[in-house]
Symmetry: C2
Subunit: 462 residues, 2 copies
């Protein structure tokens, strides 16, 4: 009905040895090939990019990687296959037999019967160089190619796995997932650092008519989650949020991901803190067990010592100190801070990092902030109803609070927000976790841009 095998064969130079007739080979990912149990001469097809070429007198060794795992598959071929086009970075398709490897370095190798060059790679122009370990700063210049390195490949597989782990933690705990809006008129944090959204000038629409009111990119899905927790009790969202901060520092992105949760009928901060600690530990354990090699690579080459630090975080109960205690600790510190610690003023990152160090590098909840430091929706209690979780190397990772559910306390607020408190209002609380900071924390990666997929691509590229 349709003959869509539409690749121009001309593109390819097929350096193919005589190949026995047999049924079409099964296509395997490198990961599946490496994990194959039986190697009784099964014929397979593997596709990927060449990571190394070693040419000996009679044998040619290739390593093929397709991004499905950190480890590459060793291909062993007759030296007659050798060709200048079989170079670092080229894409190839190899058919052959999966056999047990004589070497101790791998269990399985692919004995090539046919090697096709799919796409060439000009080594001189290619910014990634064979056998070189490129610094992360260098790679940031090539956001569209850096994912072909071991380091970025590992980080991005971990990011994908962590995303799945977070979704599955909430699903297993009975939370309903909510897509909170990206375009909104909210200004949840009361911050001025918003991006405004308007139809592009190309469109012939009277601008004032499109949204009726100024529209912004969301800084938090919390208020919308509160709506939904009023029906589903436990809800979460995991989506992009935005800050138009001018300082594109190592800690800040204009576009980043946040995990946020709201829980109805919660009356104590302790219940909330349990969920936060549970999320951090459960998700991290899942990542460690599903991406063992990838995490090991980060801990070995990017952040030495991080393996022990992470284990230390996972096996200890998180600590709790009050804001007042925190300020006392900071005032007594021998360290000189850029910003002098003072009661009634928000903590700076340097303070947060010091506090975690002071607590033996165990994550610590700071509670009982002065109300003046926190936004309107937080519950006004003398003994405080909000907390920040500080973690080693990063500082603030989560912020959480009990929300103000009492009608008369909110009466001067927006009518719709009040409606949520008129009809069967319930005590509730919630929290948010910066996803990129979470990845920095578990991997020990210093610059947030290295755990972000396209930050540098944002505008400049494509």
């Amino acid at each position: 009905m349709f003959g869509a095998r539409c690749l121009l064969r001309a593109l390819r130079s097929c350096t193919s040895a005589p190949c026995p007739r047999h049924k079409p080979s099964a296509r395997l990912s490198v990961r599946d090939a490496l994990g194959a149990r039986s190697t009784n001469g099964e014929r397979v097809k593997v596709q990927g990019w060449i990571r190394s070429v070693r040419s000996q007198k009679e044998v040619l060794f290739l390593h093929i990687n397709d991004g499905s795992s950190l480890e590459s598959l060793q291909v062993v071929a007759d030296s007659s296959f050798d060709s200048r086009e079989l170079a670092f970075g080229s894409s190839v398709e190899v058919q052959g037999q999966l056999v047990k490897s004589p070497s101790k370095k791998q269990n399985v190798e692919l004995k090539a019967e046919k090697i096709e060059i799919v796409g060439n790679c000009d080594a001189k122009a290619f910014p990634l160089k064979y056998k070189e370990r490129h610094p992360l700063e260098y790679l940031r210049q090539y956001p569209h190619l850096r994912c072909r390195t071991n380091a970025l490949g590992s980080i991005l597989r971990i990011r994908s796995e962590a995303t799945a782990a977070i979704h599955s933690f909430f699903k297993d705990s009975g939370f309903v997932h909510i897509h909170t809006p990206i375009i909104t008129s909210n200004d949840c944090e009361g911050a001025g650092e918003l991006f405004q959204v308007e139809p592009s000038s190309k469109i012939k629409v009277p601008e004032e008519n499109f949204f009726n009111v100024p529209a912004f990119l969301t800084v938090s899905g919390q208020l919308h989650l509160e709506v939904m927790s009023g029906a589903f009790t436990q809800v979460f969202t995991f989506g992009p949020t935005f800050r138009a901060e001018n300082s594109q520092s190592r800690r800040h992105l204009a576009e980043f991901y946040m995990v946020e949760a709201e829980i109805s009928f919660v009356e104590s901060l302790q219940d909330l803190m349990q969920v936060m600690e549970g999320l951090f530990k459960t998700a991290t354990m899942m990542v460690l067990s599903n991406c063992t090699e990838d995490v090991e690579l980060c801990h070995k080459f990017i952040a030495p010592g991080q393996k022990d630090r992470l284990e230390h975080m996972l096996k200890n109960n998180f600590l709790i100190i009050s804001y007042t205690e925190a300020v006392e600790i900071l005032k007594q510190a021998s360290q000189n801070f850029t910003f002098t610690p003072e009661w009634g003023v928000d903590l700076h990152t340097e303070h947060e990092k010091y506090l975690v160090k002071h607590c033996g590098n165990i994550p610590v909840f700071v509670i009982n902030y002065p109300l003046a430091l926190k936004p309107f929706y937080m519950r006004d209690n003398e003994d405080g109803c909000c907390c920040d979780l500080l973690v080693p190397g990063v500082g603030e990772l989560f912020g959480g609070s009990l929300r103000e559910e009492r009608y008369h306390f909110l009466e001067q607020r927006l009518a719709r927000y009040l409606d949520l408190r008129r009809f069967g209002s319930v005590p509730h609380g919630g929290f948010g976790m910066g996803f990129e900071r979470y990845l920095q924390c578990i991997l020990g990666i210093d610059n947030i841009k290295d755990v972000s997929l396209f930050q540098d691509l944002l505008i400049r590229v494509l």
Copy 2:
């Protein structure tokens, strides 16, 4: 260390019968209470909103719902508990014993020992009325309260489950999940209907400096996925996309969700179509088995007949026709179209719906579109390399194509996009599926706003 049980008890009126001393009751969701295996007098605490009150001489029956399931939990209490505050919409906390129900309507009921009113609900002001089935159009006026109805509760639980099912389909198939950027300078579809993004005027930054170039909200993550498929072979994204279309019709949202995938080394459209069909069928089966009652409710009350139509889609192989065949079918149709079908012109929704009906209400791939109708990144093949999947009731659900991987064909394009073809280029293809349309298709829901969480909330509310 911290005494954060900070609810003012004054808010609550506790109508509590003498309660035997016992250890604190375990908190259970309604779903877990309903599914409890053993009912040997276990003491539990259930929290939720009152869905019905029936007062008899000696007994009071309440139905409590907390959004964890469609079904509510029946609470049986002594009539001494009766109070005007125990009204439809109020939130309550009930403690008591889970016992086997004598009625056939449910397995389990909760014998109340203590009932606390958590939040009152003024029946007169509450827009949802007891025992009334509100039309979806009516509910659209109350986006912040409508999720407390059976219909919207079910739809949003299904949306959450479908999200999880789509993630798990891709994870099980070895795809890496990618967060493609929301702010971008791309204009993937060549459409003019973009939202432009700028720092809010409140910020004192020279505007031209923030992004250096005009920045827009993404209309598709495809180009960024192509980058990543060049390293991970199989990648997907599932995030918000935007169209500044002025017509906010039943088919269009300004902000909607799209599932997009890219696969390297794919050379035939057939391989791509297999993934699309697999995604549709696997995700739908998962939703049907995890949300059985919720889907039944939609199929019974919102879209009668949809159950059979959906089964028909799932048990048949999807069909394939060419664009030319499609235009022939339309020209021979007895139906009068608003837009006269003509070869070389894109299909309209009325055409798409007719074609699916003509195909016996089985989803149908239309392939071999004239190249002039498709964007630059599609592969230019005589026999066509793109396809749209049309489904009953909705029209186009997926669009997919093989991409142009040949360097010299793209040479006049952006330098960075070309870079992707210089270094180990591979044939690849991908597709996108509108998530709201998917939900409309499986549930038979006519208006896209009813499967969207906050569309009406976008700006007006909160």
